[in-house]
């Protein structure tokens, strides 16, 4: 059975997350078992598309408390939750995360371009897989709170729809 591209290169995603959050925010990530966020848990969700030899939607999910703490660590100053700077900070972190995934895929012969990030606020994080898509996600505990990273992939041309 051919291993899917997501599973085959998942370590690039986890390695990127560990490197990026350590270098930008000084936090170490501890992987924990958590299938989904609590119902109605408010969170920030950043999505970046990686398109090329793979077609991935890469996401970063941060519960509100984690987002506020991580954004402050990254920026070096407190950011009000409703400020445009909050989306900017989360977007830039996800941009750096996506860039590092791209860099780690490159020596494996997997060439991609990355999109600009899209940042949303949501309640509850549930990965709804569809036919012909593969996905993988994991949850981390950090000193600043919980967070998720994940990838959804489309087998056909174009992104997950």
């Amino acid at each position: 059975m051919i291993e899917s591209a997501v599973l085959q290169h998942w370590e690039c995603v986890t390695a990127s997350a560990n490197e990026v959050f350590s270098s930008t925010c000084g936090v170490e990530l501890e992987e924990i078992q958590a299938e989904a966020s609590s119902e109605n848990e408010s969170l920030f969700l950043a999505v970046i598309a990686l398109v090329g030899d793979v077609e991935w939607s890469l996401f970063l999910g941060l519960p509100t408390e984690t987002a506020v703490a991580i954004a402050a660590k990254f920026a070096g100053f407190e950011i009000p939750i409703d400020s445009p700077d909050m989306g900017d900070a989360i977007g830039e972190l996800s941009n750096i995360f996506g860039g590092r995934v791209k860099a780690l895929l490159d020596p494996k012969g997997v060439k991609v371009e990355i999109s600009l990030p899209t940042v949303m606020r949501a309640e509850g994080l549930h990965m709804l897989t569809q036919r012909e898509t593969e996905s993988c996600k994991t949850c981390y505990q950090t000193p600043l709170g919980k967070m998720w990273i994940g990838v959804a992939s489309g087998k056909h041309a174009g992104l997950m729809t």
């Binding site: 941009n95 996506g98 791209k102």
Partner: protein
């Protein structure tokens, strides 16, 4: 002497981080003009005396590479350009340095120490007397 620096990034947070890191690096005394994308930056470049540019790659409206190519068409003397970006593959670095004429390439994330290490040699090279035109030659002349 002050360096008039143009900082270009679609993230306001990142522009603040670049400015803060440059100030902490103490490489020079900087005064800053900010722009949110390549098109905005091109207008700022045409309207203000700019000695040095710090620019992101991936931005809406006009990306960093296209902006630098436009700068190279209209500059009177060579303006040093430092690209600060998430791009880090050899192909992209080669494109920036050899095709677009970027002088220095820094991968995000970075610290003030990173800037000191990466920009130090650039400042040394640019202040060698008679080796470059424009602002840095004047800086070298003032220092000697």
């Amino acid at each position: 002497m002050e360096i008039q620096a143009l900082v270009v990034d679609d993230s306001g947070i990142m522009r603040k981080l670049v400015i803060r890191s440059l100030l902490e690096s103490k490489l020079a005394q900087f005064m800053f003009t900010e722009a949110k994308d390549g098109a905005d930056a091109l207008e700022a470049f045409k309207s203000n005396p700019i000695d040095m540019i710090f620019v992101d790659w991936n931005m809406p409206n006009m990306n960093g590479i296209d902006f630098v190519k436009e700068v190279r068409k209209i500059e009177k003397d060579h303006v040093p350009v430092v690209m600060i970006t998430t791009e880090s593959t050899m192909g992209k670095i080669d494109e920036a340095l050899n095709t677009a004429g970027i002088d220095c390439f820094i991968v995000k994330p970075f610290t003030a120490e990173t800037l000191q290490v990466k920009l130090g040699p650039l400042f040394d090279k640019l202040t060698e007397p008679k080796k470059s035109g424009g602002f840095f030659s004047k800086l070298a002349a003032n220092m000697s």
